[in-house]
Symmetry: C4
Subunit: 247 residues, 4 copies
């Protein structure tokens, strides 16, 4: 086994202009958006990625069938040609983060990708009403379009930089002459956050120039708000048990 | 020294259709079953496995003779040809888990193995009467035979996937076109558990089609139950000292 | 991506007799001095250094543009030819420290460097008035010049050796026949310390034989002393809130 | 820089029948004995060992001269030809322990070594009067000679095997057909323990067949006993301050 293995599933890998990364992270915001788009655009899986840098385990499906921890590349070859990078885990080691991000870019170049969008959450540690979409770019020229689409840039946010694939893809892609934008949905960071994902989807769709039905995310976001409202009510009523349902 | 070294002890490695893995893990359930089978079937040791991924230490036998931490392959070449993978430790690092599992599969292919059974414990955190044998497979087609032999499949068990060799051998073997089944004896996870091992042995024997005398495991399980009963009694009597004997 | 990549930015790398290392460390003393010199001498950036041993993240500038964590080499080719090694991080792993230091020395040799000055802080755990400049050399013959310039040598300071790039560059450069001196500004270790940096700059300038305007560091040091005086006053007055401004 | 570098200091490495390892460990027992022998036998240094697996730092001598963390090989070519392995550190990583031990054995083979003695401490967690010398061998045939020299073998000591170089050299040397004996001086494990070292020296001298003046170690041991007696007295007198002098 190589340190990182990309298994292409079709004879011809296909092609894409854009890569959207939505690996697991804060509030699973990026993951929610990318998986929503894959579903709405009926993108097709074209590659499995295995690596010794993922946690050493298998994941068991509802049918009792185990499979290796993996990341996946999906492809939507419609009017817009878009590749998606999603999956189970990010790297379990610091060095692995770099080597995986580099391999993701090899795959992106293989597909002909020119621009990368990395999606994530920006955890602020408290519940947020009307979550913003914080942004970063790897070339200043990309900034006006992101702002026009609703992405915000704030001098001190996020304060510690961007960690993991969403960050490294921005930095490493520049060395290859690729454009990259990171969009981060503001979120508490405590819960899987479809509301932050819904806001992020709006900005991303505008930026890419696609129309996507976001109602499913909005429904999940509404359910979430009801859940949080109930939670707050229970807390006021001194009912600590309600908190148990979060984890 | 290479990262992983397999030292074959005979001129000809021999051959096996099945590999049974029982490395140390939760409740040492898999280890108990595999070592019991090696003893009952009088399997012969055919290989030592050394690795820089094992803890950096030697183990001292009762005779004061030290030997490297190692894993071992045993071979039973009777009516059924069965290889066993047992040993002192699993990997001390995440990456090492992958590289060792890959090396185990190289050895399995070297022996001609077509199907792999990985054995482990499923820790539930409380004492269990009538422990189940939870199961996972690497191809759905394998499931009916496992269920017929008494293995159970439950949607949410184990919830976090299967970690270590028992999991990775399932996932990595699929990439090589090998069948693999994981059997996990339900156990508290606090004690070495011959009762869980005894239950697992029944399912495994049925699946492989061998008859093995499980009385030794049953005797140990009975002793264990007496020990636990005494423990419970002491606890009721407020005798905390009894608990000291567990560790 | 290689484990360590040095990207030279000019056709010809240029040349230098001296390398001054000021990577992040205790009290950021070395970093303050090296960056001050780069500014005063208007040194030009000649190389970027990227590595999988740096933390896996990007840093976001005030303009929202992200860039990889990196180290940098600057070059001043005046009467004295001086290279500077500065940057965001030291290695995140123990092995990486060695491999990065070795790569820094490759770059230094590429520039023709004969002598290395590594700059750091010596944390003593309490506020220091009149901070000393502790020193170490990699050949005894270098000691008199350092002492003449105001660097001190004390048998038991620092007691645990010198960790990271400032230390390893001393040790590894000797194996290549290069001279190296480490200067450590005495500091509490709790705060970024321009006062310790100012003292270190005096010794270093004397040693190298350059005249540098240190007034900017002195101004920052004076501001710092006022800040600390206020802090002490607040503490006497029982105003714990003042302490919040340190972090 | 290679992961491990052995720098031989003479044209011809020389030859030795025996290697004595005394790297830092519990109570520094092995280190004390090996360094005492080097001094008494006026062994000559023949090699420096550097490695990225050692802690990333330099050590500063009393003269202010820094040097890389390193291990060293000394050679005594008298009636008995004996090599010594001593130094600053053991490996900082688990994998490094294996790779370093393997490199030590390469060096030993280079010198023609046939038998290895690894020296260490056996920490029991309480003060010991009349410390034993626990032993382990890598072939049962070696045991009678060790017992005749005063080394003890106890079924359950040390219970967790032998960790680090002292252990791995026993295990790895067997794969190369070399004999190896580990001698462990019983010690509290809290203090550098010349008394345990003195006892270990007696057994080792007998085993190798050399006469060494152990009076220096005995003097240090006597001083230590006085120190401990004072400590106990102070404790009885409720003088907690005395304890501060241990660290």
């Amino acid at each position: 086994m190589d340190e990182i293995e990309i298994h292409w599933l079709r004879e011809e890998a296909g092609s894409a202009d854009i890569l959207i990364e939505g690996l697991p992270g804060i509030g699973h915001v990026g993951k929610l958006v990318a998986e929503h788009l894959i579903q709405e655009l009926r993108a097709e899986k074209v590659a499995d990625i295995y690596s010794i840098f993922f946690p050493p385990q298998v994941i068991i499906g509802g049918d009792g069938v185990a499979r290796l921890a993996r990341n996946e590349i999906f492809l939507h070859e419609g009017e817009k040609k878009i590749a998606f990078l999603v999956g189970d885990y990010q790297s379990a080691s610091a060095e692995g983060h770099y080597l995986l991000a580099d391999a993701y870019l090899d795959a992106a170049e293989h597909l002909g990708v020119k621009r990368i969008f990395t999606l994530g959450g920006y955890g602020v540690g408290h519940l947020v009403s009307g979550p913003r979409v914080l942004s970063a770019v790897n070339r200043e020229e990309l900034r006006p379009a992101v702002e026009a689409a609703g992405g915000e840039f704030n001098r001190d946010e996020p304060p510690g930089g961007i960690i993991g694939a969403s960050g490294l893809l921005l930095g490493l892609s520049l060395l290859r002459g690729m454009d990259a934008v990171c969009l981060m949905g503001e979120t508490s960071g405590y819960l899987v956050d479809p509301r932050a994902a819904s806001g992020l989807l709006t900005v991303l769709s505008e930026l890419i120039g696609i129309e996507v039905d976001g109602s499913q995310l909005q429904t999940r976001a509404a359910e979430m708000e009801q859940f949080i409202a109930k939670l707050a009510e229970s807390e006021r009523a001194g009912d600590d048990d309600a908190l148990r349902y979060i984890g």
